[in-house]
Amino acid sequence: MAEITKLIHKYLRHEKKFPHVWCPGCGNGIVLGSLIRAIDKTGLTKDEVVLVSGIGCSGRLPVYVDFNTLHTTHGRALTFATGVKLANPSLQVIVIMGDGDATAIGGNHFIHAARRNLNLTAIILNNNIYGMTGGQYSPTTPYGALATTAIYRNIEHSFSIAELAVTAGASMVARGTVYHANMLDGLIEKAIRKRGFAVVEVVTHCHTQYGRRNNLGGPVEMLRWQKETAVRVEKAQKMTPEELEGKFTIGILVDRDLPIYTQEYQKIRETAKARMAKAR
């Protein structure tokens, strides 16, 4: 059996949940593929993995895969994931969010999850728009772009999700694109293996709601834009600010070892137990 067919049979709930809800050509499918290949490489069993998502097109991803899957409320995926991880730290908890999901309604949870540093993997699908609700502007919609709620053009300035995660204190932060799918496999795998809060921002395309409205073309043109605009961080270091104008970097932005919440909490348990024993 071809490698890909094997993976499909191993991980997808193919007999139950297909065809999927996404538009033909949507980048979300590529992320799903990357995620499966990455998990497969880590050797984790299906029972060890919990996939948590928020609400949005991206939020529908977990339903297709045969793990413990949890589709939460809009913006709150990280909070549910926090509970899962704390109740059973041996589970590998991976959280899928959209850009609106993670940084608008869920923005506060996002920065606090990064600061708290639980051993979670957060994958944020940044398509620059609210896809599921039909193309309203999101915190990552570029200044000047068009959206259904910005037909006079967007006058808000966008977040850089990855840089926000770096500043908020995440242990590992990476950015990839769905065009660079092989690289994405590696970034997600590394994020899963990372001990600590690891974020992968995935630049993806919503041709239906964003591309079409902004004359960016269909999936092929939008993928080409990703290819031409993304610069690997290693290469970017050797480039001048002028050369980098209008580009974005991909690769690992930060990888640092910080104390993990569950480990720290174990120390609290010891202290508390000792104190109780003394009081007895």
Binding site: T69, L70, T72, T79, G83
Partner: protein, 381 residues
């Protein structure tokens, strides 16, 4: 605060602390919360005690997050709880609805304070009775219990966990500022005397497990993350396998089942305390801290020859209609004293249907209704 509580021996506790003891006795191992008066002592005590018992306390960034974490922890197998007050309870509502639809057992304490909005933060109120029932959107059943004494706080919290686990549902405990902060001498039962119920777990081979399949109880066994029974959990209306559905023949049975599982066990969920009601002409219906004033008033009324009786509601939702109806048919008048503009009295009137006279006694100034005020009204009735 009491670090060590010797079971079986008298201790001096406030309601909030007794709730923590009750939760721990029921097997609570996870608590997530955000500080708010008058519920904060629950978080504080949990932060001290849970880690010593191997459990986990976490202070989240807000109440929305707390409720999310509580659900996540329950899905991963922990008996979990949060505690808050009015504004925080409002924030929890969306996720509370999620717990109802996804059938996730958990306990949510709302120590009521004056509202709306930031309201009267340090004053007593019973203004959240309807919010506890209808706060989240859409149709779903819920169990809501009211506590009135420190000992209640212990017992009813145990009961809340048991009901949550038994029926795979969130259970809300309504406390109030007076109950929460009144210190009383109580004796806590020995662990052996406490009934502790755990959720029913699947035991068939994992391939056969259908996570939301109906059965005679209406409560499917619950797999937990990591135990080999992998399934999909969602807030969307789902089919028996947990996958989103828009099919009429799947939506209707699902919604009916989550109502049925509560209705079918109505009398197991129902808790009321009746006092001097057998021959009563005048009935007081009360709950929470007001029930204490009412008890005293009813006893004093009897001393003065007024045949008064008390029904103290512990279960507020589902509303104990079956208990109330025979009384409504028989008594001359009913008085419902409460610290709001009339939330439970509205429910009593709704089921009364002209059978008797229903009077209300309402206070919204952040102070307790005294036994005297109730007594005066009883005598006038």
């Amino acid at each position: 605060m009491n670090d060590q509580i010797k079971l079986g021996r008298p201790v001096l506790l406030q309601g909030n602390e007794a709730m923590v003891e009750g939760a721990l006795a029921a097997g609570c191992s996870f608590f997530a919360g955000y500080p708010i008066t008058p519920a904060t002592e629950i978080s504080e005590a949990m932060s001290v005690k849970l880690p010593a018992l191997g459990g986990t306390f976490i202070q989240m960034e807000d109440e929305i997050a707390s409720m999310g974490a509580v659900i996540g922890a329950s899905l991963a197998g922990a008996k979990s709880m949060t505690a808050t007050s009015g504004p925080g309870f409002s924030l929890m509502q969306e996720n509370l609805g999620f717990a109802c639809v996804a059938e996730v057992p958990c306990v949510v304490v709302n120590v009521m304070r004056g509202g709306p909005s930031t309201g009267l933060p340090t004053n007593v109120s019973q203004g959240d009775v309807m919010q506890a029932r209808w706060g989240t959107h859409g149709d779903h059943p819920i169990i809501v219990l009211a506590v009135s004494t420190t000992r209640d706080c212990f017992d009813i919290t145990v009961k809340a966990f048991n009901l949550a686990e038994k029926y795979r549902t969130p259970v809300v405990i309504l406390s109030d500022e007076v109950v929460a902060h009144t210190r009383e001498k109580i004796s806590l039962p020995h662990p052996g005397e406490i009934e502790v119920i755990d959720r029913i777990r699947p035991n068939m081979p994992p391939d056969w497990y259908i996570p939301y399949e109906d059965n005679s109880r209406g409560v499917p066994p619950m797999g937990i993350f990591g135990d080999g029974y992998r399934y999909h959990v969602t807030g969307l209306i789902h089919d028996v396998r947990g996958f989103p559905t828009q099919r009429r023949d799947e939506i209707v049975p699902f919604v009916n089942r989550i109502f049925r599982k509560i209705n079918q066990y109505f009398f197991d969920i129902l808790m009321v305390k009746e006092e001097l009601t057998d021959d009563a002409d005048h009935l007081v219906v009360a709950y929470g801290s007001v029930a204490r004033s009412a008890r005293r008033a009813v006893r004093e009324a009897r001393e003065r020859g007024v045949k008064a009786g008390l029904i103290q509601l512990i279960t507020l939702w589902p509303f104990p209609r079956q208990i109330m109806e025979p009384y409504l048919r028989r008594v001359k008048a009913v008085l419902v004293p409460e610290l709001n503009m009339g939330q439970v009295s509205r429910e009593v009137k709704r089921i009364n249907q002209g059978m008797t006279r229903v009077e209300t006694l309402n206070r919204i100034d952040g102070t307790l209704i005294t036994p005297d005020e109730i007594l005066v009204r009883l005598i006038k009735m």
